[in-house]
């Protein structure tokens, strides 16, 4: 096995002569890529167009009646007359303000949840205390509770299935195994709305509607998946350095923050990226708990902007400009961390 691994990286695409089949396969791939990417180009093209020119030349491949107007409208830089002159609704969406809300929501949530998870993971991986195994089991059962699942992508489910289920269900033989496995999977499928509604009621009772606290809290403290993921990683790390530091008289907390955390930075970054993507794109939970513009994130503003176009013909150019601004942080994240994102989805964070 090791010799196989040591062999040069396997390439299936070793140069071979061109065949009809390969040609068709390439054609298919190009087609898929085109359909995948074209909408992004169309956003840009529309966002730089004048609405009246758009109606006249809907098929133009380049921006129709090139203008920065839509972006100015969206960013609140255009006067009402200017915007109406370009076929806007006269309403601007003050995207900067919503952008800020999104940044606060996604950043604070991500930082909090990763931080809390790291602390807990350390307690489960390195400390010895009464009731630890029980608590860990309890937390894991929460993987089956769906509220958190709406905050992280499907990713959670996949890794959950491959890790937990793998050991108990693939290696052990026990009565009722298939039944339990089904039960586990079904529990993961509890519709998110089952916890979201009661959580909404709770947030309302706490008087936290229309506040960042109400938006952030339910998803910021506890993620069974994050804890599980980080604990597994820490268990795989050698403890020698940490033990040496402890012998030298360093406190537990110092070891945690000085040694263990830096060594765990890889998975922490992976979890942060995936968490941030999830929070940034989150629509349903903020929709439930916020009705006030002062805290609404961008996804909500965008949906409202789309629905509230007063004219018969929506301000498509403005909408696309807003869309682009909303998607931009994710696209930037992608440019910086693209390889990491692809690998973390494909390989569940294998480094």
């Amino acid at each position: 096995m090791t010799s196989l691994v040591a062999a040069p990286p396997r390439k299936h695409s070793r140069p071979r002569k061109f065949t009809v089949g390969r040609g068709l396969a390439w054609a298919y791939l190009v087609g898929v890529l085109f359909v995948t990417i074209f909408p992004f180009y169309w956003i840009l093209r529309t966002a730089l167009s004048n609405n009246y020119a758009l109606s006249a030349h809907p098929a133009a491949l380049l921006p129709a009646g090139f203008t920065w107007g839509p972006f100015q409208r969206v960013l609140g830089l255009a006067t009402t007359e200017q915007s109406i002159a370009e076929g806007g609704s006269g309403a601007s969406i003050e995207i900067g303000h919503y952008l800020l809300n999104s940044v606060v929501y996604a950043t604070v949530s991500t930082v909090l949840i990763v931080f809390c998870s790291t602390l807990a993971a350390y307690a489960f991986a390195r400390l010895h205390w009464r009731g630890r195994d029980f608590m860990f089991g309890l937390f894991l059962t929460a993987l089956m509770v769906p509220g958190i699942l709406t905050l992280l992508p499907n990713f959670v489910l996949i890794v959950f299935c491959s890790t937990l289920a793998a050991y108990a269900f693939a290696r052990l033989h026990w009565r009722g195994r298939d039944f339990m496995f089904g039960l586990f999977l079904t529990a993961l499928m509890v519709p998110g709305i089952l916890t979201l509604l009661p959580n909404f009621v709770l947030i309302k009772e706490l008087g936290l509607l229309n506040s960042f606290a109400g938006m952030i809290l339910p998803g910021a403290l506890f993620s069974a998946f994050n804890i599980f993921f980080l604990r597994q990683f820490m268990l795989g790390l050698s403890t020698e350095t940490e033990e040496a530091a402890l012998l030298d008289g360093a406190g537990r907390l110092r070891v945690l923050f000085g040694i263990t955390l830096p060594m765990t930075s890889g998975p922490i970054i992976t979890l942060s990226i995936l968490g941030f993507i999830g929070m940034w794109n989150d629509y349903f939970w903020p929709l439930l708990v916020t009705s006030d513009e002062s805290v609404q994130p961008l996804t909500l503003a965008l949906a409202v902007f789309k629905q509230s176009s007063p004219q018969a013909q929506p301000d498509w150019a403005g909408l696309m400009a807003a869309t682009l601004v909303a998607a931009m942080p994710m696209l930037l994240l992608f440019m910086v961390f693209g390889r990491r994102i692809v690998n973390s989805i494909g390989f569940s964070g294998i480094k």
Binding site: F40, W42, W129, M320
Partner: protein, 323 residues
């Protein structure tokens, strides 16, 4: 996702962990100085997570079940009414139509997405290992469903949408993608496939990479064509992952909401009023939380049935690969 790979890794990681834990228990009994005081610190470290778990996961789940047996209009306290909500549900035509619409959406989006993503993963696997191409394929996964819904409602617009312009240029009749009853759900399914396909393809691609290339070489020596190898080798070996992907896609599809909310708002005339949408409008349009909770639980019950059917698929594939 490399189920197999990560499984093996977990097992390797778990075994020493178990041994360590056993040792730890002994040293705990012996009150070893190295771990004295661990308990207190541990409770401090898990305190935030524990609070989050109790308050925002465990409690709401139980409460959701309780609320489904009550008449609860948010403003007045819940009132126990037994199974009345469920009886009402059984006679609610909109609910049954929403369920039908949702199932229609699930079948369409999951089957299309599966075919396209398996084909894409297989083609990627045989043609190129470029991370850039895989990155581009996954791009739609990174943007929110709201953005995806907005962009596609522009591209599918009846008059100015580029898709209709192309269709007309090719000599076809314009299609009312999002505004006609017959096209609303298929259009939403296509948008959702566009958004989700790359993600699924990358997972399947990772699964493909766990298949040893020697198998294909043996197949080629035997004179098998690429298509035949795909049918006889790739698909069977991929079945466990495919089964898992199908389960996950179905779970996700049953809870579709964002795209529908942006693209059609459930219209025209309930043609795309999916279950999650109906639950939302019951809870936040009419403030009938008890009824909405009952519907959530019913959706859960539907998913239970589907999962147990899926389990057979999973188990079948297990015995296949073991032989």
């Amino acid at each position: 996702m490399a189920v197999l790979e990560s499984t093996a890794r977990e097992q390797r990681a778990a075994r020493p962990a178990k041994r360590r834990r056993r040792n730890a228990r002994q040293s705990l009994n012996a009150n070893s100085p190295a771990h004295r005081g661990d308990g207190k610190l541990a409770w401090v470290l898990i305190a935030p997570a524990l609070v989050g778990f109790l308050v925002f996961a465990a409690y709401p789940t139980l409460r959701g079940i309780y609320l489904s047996f009550t008449d609860f209009k948010v403003l007045s306290p819940p009132e126990w009414i037994g199974f009345d909500n469920y009886v009402q549900l059984a006679h609610d035509e909109v609910f049954w139509s929403a369920l039908g619409v949702t199932v229609y959406f699930v079948v369409l989006s999951v089957s299309i997405s599966l075919v396209v993503s398996v084909a894409t993963a297989a083609v990627l696997h045989r043609l190129t290992s470029s991370t850039v191409i895989r990155g581009l394929i996954i791009l739609p996964f990174l943007i929110s469903a709201v953005v995806a819904g907005t962009v596609w409602s522009w591209m599918l617009d009846t008059q100015l949408g580029v898709v209709n312009i192309v269709i007309k240029a090719l000599g076809g009749d314009g299609v009312q993608f999002l505004t006609s009853r017959s096209w609303a759900i298929p259009s939403i399914a296509l948008i959702s496939v566009w958004k989700q396909m790359g993600y699924t393809a990358i997972i399947i691609f990772a699964g493909l990479q766990t298949i040893p290339p020697t198998i294909y070489e043996a197949g080629r020596v035997d004179g098998a064509s690429e298509l035949k190898m795909f049918r006889r080798l790739t698909l069977p070996l991929l079945r466990p992952i495919l089964a898992l992907v199908i389960v996950l896609n179905i779970i996700g599809a049953f809870q579709v909401f964002d795209i529908v909310q942006v693209a059609t708002k459930g219209g025209p005339a309930n043609a795309s009023n999916v279950l999650q949408m109906y639950i939302y409008s019951k809870a936040f349009g009419q403030f009938d939380f008890g009824y909405a909770a009952a519907m959530s639980l019913s959706l859960f019950a539907v998913l239970i049935v589907i999962t147990f059917l899926q389990m057979r698929l999973l188990r079948a594939s297990e015995s296949d690969t073991n032989q």
